[in-house]
């Protein structure tokens, strides 16, 4: 268990739609990840949690404009945190391209949970579990 991969999940917006992020959290836990869910968090809180929790991957639930997520990524890098970031939520194609340009993998509505789990395994270098 000591090398269990840790994933931070945060909502960037002050918008309470929690359905997406909660099902993703469940799927990641079921796949053997330790999920640190901090809910609605601003950029500083996301960076602090990424440091404190020493996570391997940062997941952003984006229910607003994508600029806040972009600032979060920039702030993480400024702090020297080079861990990968992936994002989900109602992210229109134009905003998806922007985030992808910053190295963020984007999983919009309709993304299937096995694909999100596979991405988390790839991004954290975790060997896939044989039984989900």
């Amino acid at each position: 268990m000591s090398n269990q991969r840790r994933i931070l999940l945060a909502k960037t917006a002050l918008d309470g739609h929690w359905r997406g992020v909660s099902v993703v959290a469940r799927a990641l836990r079921d796949a053997g990840f330790e999920v640190v869910m901090i809910g609605m968090a601003n950029v500083d809180e996301i960076v602090q949690a990424a440091i404190d929790e020493d996570v391997d991957l940062i997941g952003l639930s984006v229910g607003g404009h994508v600029q806040v997520a972009e600032r979060a990524v920039a702030a993480l890098r400024d702090e020297g945190i080079e861990k990968p970031v992936f994002a989900g939520g109602v992210i229109p194609p134009h905003a998806k391209r922007r985030l992808e340009g910053k190295g963020v993998e984007v999983y919009p509505p309709g993304s299937q949970l096995p694909d999100i789990v596979a991405a988390a395994e790839r991004l954290t270098g975790k060997a896939p579990t044989t039984e989900a």
Binding site: A13, L14, D15, V23, D44, G64, Q67, P92, P93, P109
Partner: protein, 547 residues
């Protein structure tokens, strides 16, 4: 179909979206004896299972009622006028979620930290001045308006703001048509905010609004239970029915306990509700038939109400946002049409069809126009308005309606046994039910049991139309900040302070908060100041979501 597709089809378990097993065909023996009284009645006749009005849409077509709002109040004003000019027959104001749902002004640190998000999903309205801009040039005396205030703690502000604008225009509140929402499902289940008054004060607010409307705004629908928000969070069709009435009895019991309004008046206040429509067309149509009968029976049996006018449930529906796909978004025009059809077959009084870009962004002008056009095609081209309750008498529809009623009352009882609706929100019991269904649905997609065109299957897209999502405006935060500064400079600070102190005093008493709220809005007290007052007096809801 591919081989695996054929295999999946042959192994398919046929059932409704809510999980009710389906036979391949139905006969008269499938309709329970006890159900025949309701199904044998005429439309517009108790228990109203077959429709609210004897001649249905011949008398009055359903209201075309679309959610709208983004950016600055003037952006929202422009979009509302756009929709009305395209044939919308009511309008629905959305306030910015960041500020409104949390009762924060734009200078609150939590908002400043997300300044780019401000105005994304509704216009920023911090004082009555902003609401005035949003309503500029809109004939609210003759147009059915929804003042916003979907979230419980925000409703008193949104309603008082709308009514204050009406008053300042010299309109008679006694004649003002419209509605608000103050919905417990959105607030405490579907869209849980960072900060919110607890459910107890929330119940007080809603019953205060009901009393205030009973006294001063008889044409206004004071609260609208939006089970939609529970359903799109995961509750299935019969759970949605059961939980809606579990919510209704909280309001009605509180009104009865206070004794300040008649049960008839309370029933009138609560009897305008909203449901979700999914793509299970027949189940959804039956759900609306079931809802009308359940409301009638609830009022008769639990409260002894006999006035049939208030026992006739009025239903607004919105097509399921979560069924709209990000992939191949033009397919959503068909989905919107089918879900809208379900509502029409079930006899809705009012309908909103989600934009085809629902999964991408708030609606673009064109997506909004399409939502209105879908409804106009249903009204004017399809001949669906000719006959009331076209499913009535179908063995399948009657059997399914009966089954939904039975399961819905069981769920209602389960909620009562778990302490009632408010207790089930406070404890997270309802969240757990919704979560179970969300997970089951996603597992069904992953296993191939549930097909979503363009998402799980048929994913190849050759469209020449690129739908990129609506971008909104980028100056909502700046303009709101300037307007707040201007308000501090130019309002009568003494009057605002006095009104705010009076509001706080009222909140600490047992008195109805709405008269003080009206004074506060008239004195240009802001959203954030009222929010601070609520936080001080009522504290914060302890959210049971522990994802």
């Amino acid at each position: 179909m591919s081989d695996s597709g054929q295999e999946r089809w042959s192994k398919k378990q046929w059932k409704t979206f809510s999980g009710i097993p389906l036979k391949s065909h139905y006969g008269p023996e499938d309709v329970p004896e006890a159900h025949r009284h309701g199904s044998g009645s005429s439309p517009g006749q108790a228990p109203f299972l077959r429709g609210a009005y004897p001649k249905g849409y011949r008398t009055k077509p359903w209201r075309i009622f679309q959610l709208s709002g983004f950016g600055k109040p003037e952006d929202e004003n422009e979009r509302i006028k756009f929709l009305l000019s395209h044939g919308e027959t009511g309008f629905l104001m959305e306030h910015d979620r960041n500020t409104a749902d949390h009762m924060y002004n734009v200078d609150h640190p939590d908002v400043v930290a997300r300044r780019e998000d401000v105005g994304l999903t509704g216009a920023v309205m911090q004082s009555v001045r902003d609401i005035r801009i949003c309503l500029d040039g809109i004939p609210i005396e003759s147009t059915y308006g929804h003042a916003g205030g979907a979230v419980v703690q925000h409703a008193p502000f949104a309603l008082a703001g709308y009514w204050t604008v009406a008053r300042q225009r010299g309109l008679d509140l006694e004649r003002l048509p419209g509605t608000g929402q103050s919905d417990f499902f959105l607030t405490y289940l579907g869209c849980v905010t960072k900060q919110q008054v607890p459910t107890g004060p929330g119940l007080r607010f809603n019953v205060d609004i009901m009393e205030f409307c009973d006294q001063y705004l008889p044409r206004w629908v004071p609260v609208s239970i939006a089970a939609y928000n529970g359903a799109d969070t995961g509750l299935n069709a019969y759970q949605e029915l059961g939980v809606l009435f579990a919510n209704a009895v909280e309001y009605l019991d509180e009104a009865q306990r206070r004794g300040s309004m008649s049960m008839e008046a309370a029933a009138r206040a609560v009897g305008g509700v909203s449901f979700r429509l999914t793509l299970d067309v027949i189940e959804e149509a039956c759900k609306l038939r079931a809802a009308r009968k359940m409301w009638y029976d609830l009022l008769a049996e639990r409260y002894g109400v006999t006035n049939e006018k208030v026992m006739n449930l009025r239903i607004h529906c919105v097509t399921s946002g979560s069924m709209m796909t990000y992939q191949q978004p033009l397919n959503n025009i068909v989905r919107g049409t089918l879900m809208g059809l379900a509502g029409v077959l079930g006899g809705v009084q009012s309908l909103g069809v989600s934009g085809y870009d629902e999964a991408l962004s708030v609606p673009s002008e064109h997506a909004h126009q399409m939502s209105v056009r879908i409804q106009q095609i249903l009204q004017h081209e399809s001949n669906l308005c000719a006959v009331v309750d076209p499913l009535g008498g179908s063995h399948y529809a009657e059997a399914l309606t009966a089954e939904l009623i039975e399961r819905a009352w069981e769920f209602f009882e389960e909620i009562q046994e778990s302490g009632g609706f408010l207790a089930c929100l406070d404890s997270g019991w309802l969240h757990a039910r919704a979560h179970e269904n969300q997970n089951a649905d996603l597992d069904a997609q992953a296993s191939g049991e549930r097909t979503i065109v363009g998402v799980t299957d048929f994913t190849h897209d050759d469209t020449p139309f690129e739908i990129d999502g609506f971008t909104g405006v980028d100056d909502a935060f700046e303009v709101a900040t300037e307007r707040l500064q201007e308000l501090w400079r130019t309002r009568d600070g003494k009057a605002a302070g006095a009104a705010l102190r009076n509001l706080e005093k009222t909140c600490r008493s047992d008195a109805n908060i709405m008269p003080a709220m009206m004074e506060a809005l008239d004195a240009e007290v802001t959203l954030g100041e009222i929010g601070d007052c609520f936080r001080e007096v009522f504290g914060d809801w302890d959210t049971p979501i522990t994802a």
